[in-house]
Each structure stands twice: as structure tokens, then as C-alpha cells.
Symmetry: C2
Subunit: 318 residues, 2 copies
Amino acid sequence: MLAVLCGDRHPPDMGPIESGAEIRYTDEKGLPEALRGADALFVYDFLSTAVPGAWHAADRVRWVHIASAGVDPVMFPELRESDVVLTNSRGVFDDSIAEYVLGVVIAFAKDLPRSLELQRERRWQHRESERVAGRRALVVGTGPIGRAIARLLRAAGLVVSGMGRRERDGDPDFGTVYASADLATRVGEFDYVIAVAPLTEQTKGMFDAAAFAAMKPAARFVNVGRGELVVTSDLVTALREGQIAGAALDVFDVEPLPADHPLWTLGNVVLTPHMSGDFVGWRNTLVEVFADNFARWRDGRPLRNVVDKQLGYVPSGQ
Amino acid sequence: MLAVLCGDRHPPDMGPIESGAEIRYTDEKGLPEALRGADALFVYDFLSTAVPGAWHAADRVRWVHIASAGVDPVMFPELRESDVVLTNSRGVFDDSIAEYVLGVVIAFAKDLPRSLELQRERRWQHRESERVAGRRALVVGTGPIGRAIARLLRAAGLVVSGMGRRERDGDPDFGTVYASADLATRVGEFDYVIAVAPLTEQTKGMFDAAAFAAMKPAARFVNVGRGELVVTSDLVTALREGQIAGAALDVFDVEPLPADHPLWTLGNVVLTPHMSGDFVGWRNTLVEVFADNFARWRDGRPLRNVVDKQLGYVPSGQ
């Protein structure tokens, strides 16, 4: 018996799974009822925050799979302390998000948003632009998405370092990885600072006033991780006061971003609606990843992408 | 005696050259007088079309250097048929233009212009986007700029072919190079078609109604070469009728593009004002390239970047 939290939009390609299990598709409201007696939960609506509130009804769930890389929506104490296995969709979004990040980096360097503005006004205004090659980028978050970003930025000529829990050298994708604890002392060396860390108690709000104040005034901040990595009001202040030169944000602490939020209208900001990883076909790929784990689960084989619930992400090498 | 066509804006860093020659800085109007008795001409104002009309006064010019990669503004019969040596600024713009091209490719794939539009309207509208890796790009023009574009697109995961005068295989940057004569039969295989050929009698207007009709409806056209490579009215029609999906244009047959030109307001078009190669410091680099050739000329050493005036560009291997 499988519960699928999906709202109105059912996942595609569920035929093979439907033939092997009884499935209850549900929206947030029906979740407690769907959980009662279910053996597993597929959180297809990965933006939903309804799982913790419905968990009391999960009387025999042994496995939860989430259709995203970040598992923060299901990182609540009852699940964390339980024996329930949690798996995620690691790998689906890596290369697409990396392309997005390289795209906004070049857009900043070449002043593309301003060109589009001038185009709307039919104004021909030559400007000089920046080179991309040789610029320094710090990728904060050393999971698979961060690694894909590092590889692609490096391929385009940027000089890349990483930032993770522990400082180390000789990483195949990052070379040097700095410790997150040293963010404020290291971040001033970089032209692009890219947030892609998992959201945990340790990373929540790590991009705060002190971090932005330590960045170069010419630096651009890119967030493709989670909105809550950032103290948004501090980011707004940093942009307003010119502490940093720009930001490209695909994630926000409240989504959808409210229409009256100051970020919408700040200069030098590129906003996208949590879509950087969502290439045409992503929903099918998400279901493929789930289907593979579902077959493993049914057969009693080891699952893929098992989250370390104390760390809050899938450890590397898994 | 050196004539420098530069208008109001003198080239920077001319000190070392000024100490070795008498220099006449001039605008278009004063060009005939400046040419009279001059031994060499530095066309710093590389967009000027004034050289052919003033050439009658060039009674002893032996060398013309132009501060651009394209030499079409000085490809007039009197210069072409003469013994005057023509050199260009090959190499200065290569990597910067390649970055611009990759930037607009990713911007199209990730629908960035639409995101900026929606942002202006404060509208949160999730969309799916395209992958970049695996898409096919045709780079029309196999000079140094085209090669830099090919290398960078390939580094970002695109599958790249070239198009030049002669068909050949095993090119280090392009793999296969198709013959320009086969444009209409080959172009339909590509997602991105990038124009960077030199403007010659053979390439003028090569992107015409037939070429656009042969492209995929999903194809994007990028022009970083010369506006006259394109029959602009055919491009406008192709965009209006959906024969192609978009265009990024940095060059135009009339520059600045007139305010009432239909290209300004067509959907799926990104316009930039002939700036794709102009990184911060480009003017200094252009003068460095000239200064190197000037020292060679004064010392009687062979010049760099000598244009084959019959071909209309610097042959590869030079």
C-alpha cells in the first residue's frame, strides 16, 4: 500500500508501479487518511509542508521517498528519530541547475538584463562588459549539484573553489574546499558566490548581514539551494546598499514570492520561480528514480539515495 | 607619419607610438588631409565607412591596420588591388564573443528573457526549461572567433559542427566542417545557428529566406559576425512566422539600429548594440595589438595578422 502526496497533478508514468501496489493518490487535506495503513509514502508534491502535520496517522509507513534533492520538508523530529528510511531524488537536477548557474553568471558578466531593458526602450547604448574566464567562484555546498556546477563553471574558464562542512584539498571537482565556518573570512575573494548547500540547522541563515558585508562590492550571489539558507532581509539590505553587485535567486524563504516583496523590483536582481532544475521531462525522470527504488523496495534490495537523517542529506559516496 | 582615424575618442596608451612617429589624429571629415603624405593608417574607428571616400588622398600609404577582426569597411577595390598591406586585430575579441554566445544560448534554453519580463510584472510562473548539453550548434565561420565559440560551446556540452568554404573532417575545434554552399541542406539539423563568418561577396546575405526556411522551427539564430551576412527582412519574416524560435543579434546591417526597426519589438529576440566582444580593457588591448605591429613595421620585420585581400580575412595558419 503506497500513499502518493501529489495534489491535483498526478505523477506521470505510474503504470508499472500501479501494477505492483495499491496506490492512494492524495492532496494535503487527505494525507492523514491516505497514510493510515500505508507501507510507504511518495512525496511527489515536494514543496508541500503537510507531511509533519499528517504523520500521526502513519501507523505502518517504513519508507518515505521525496521527489526533490532537498529533504528539508520532511526533516521533522518524529521522522528523524524513527526507523523509517528516507530517500531522495539525488542526481535528477544536477546538470540542469549547473546550466542555469552558468547562464546567470554569463548574464551578469555581459549585462544581459540591462540589454533587454534598453531593447524595450529601443535604445542603442554600447557598454563594455566583463570577461567570465578567470573570475573566481565559490560553490557553497559540495553535494552532486554543487559538483556539477563546479565542473561546468570550470569548463567555462572560471576558477572554482568549494565550501563544505570540513576544509580539505585535492577535491576532484573543487580543488580546495573551505569550511563553512570560515565563510566570512573567505567569501571576500570571490566574484560569484553560489549557494547550493542542503538546508539544515547548520546552514539555515548562513548568508546573513555579516556574510554579505564580507563579500566584494562587485560580487554576485546566486541561490539555487533553499531560500532559508539566506536571511532575506539582510540580502535586500546588501543589494540596496551596494554591498554586493547583484543576485540571481531561484529559491526563496516563502514561495511563491509574495507580489509585494521588495526583491521583485530591486535592480541587479534576477528572479526565477524555483525552476532552475526543471528541464522538459523532469517529472518523468523523477518518477523513474522513484520507480527504480520502488522495485528495489518490493524485492527487498537496498534502496538508492538513502538520506542520513542526522546530516539531512545523502552522504557522498552513497 | 601615421594617420589615425578615431573621431573624438583618441585611442589610449599611444605614448610609445607617439615617440616613434609623427601622428595625425583625425575624424572622418579630416581624413583626406591626414592621409596626404602619411605612410600608414590606423583605422581605430573601425565602424567608420569613410576610408574609401578619402583614399584618393593616400599618396604614400603602405600599410593600413584596422582595430577590428572584420575588415569589410576597408575592402574597396582601390585598396584591394594595391600593394598596400592590410592588417587586422585578430584574436582580441575571440574569447569574449564566445562567452557572449554561450550566454545567449543558455538564456534561450532557460527562457531567461521571459523570466525577466515576468519579474517586472511580479508574476511567479513556473515553466520547464531546456537542457543545453546535447543540443547541436552550427558555427558558420571557421576563423579564430568561430573556433573560440566552438570550443566553449563544446565545453558546455553542446555538440558542435562548423561551416566554412570547404567541407572537411577532423578539424580540431569543429570536427566536421560543412561547406557554406550546403547551408540550406545542412542547417535543419541544428538547434543553434551561429553566424560569425567574415563579410565577403560570398557570405553577404547568406542567411536569407531559404536558409531560415530550412532551419528547425525550434532553432535559434545568433549573429556575432556582421549584419550584412543576413537579409534582415527575411529574418524578420522568419521570426514573425515562427520559421525559427528566436534570434540573438549583436550586429545589424544598419548600426545603430534605427528606433523604428521591427527587430526591437519582436518576441524571442535579444538585441545587443555591437558589444559582444568589448570587454573592459578592449581598447587598450586593441592598441597593444597595433603597437606590436607598429614596432614590427618600423623595424622592417614581418607584420602580424596580414589580411589576404582576395579572401577578405586573415587565412588560418598565418
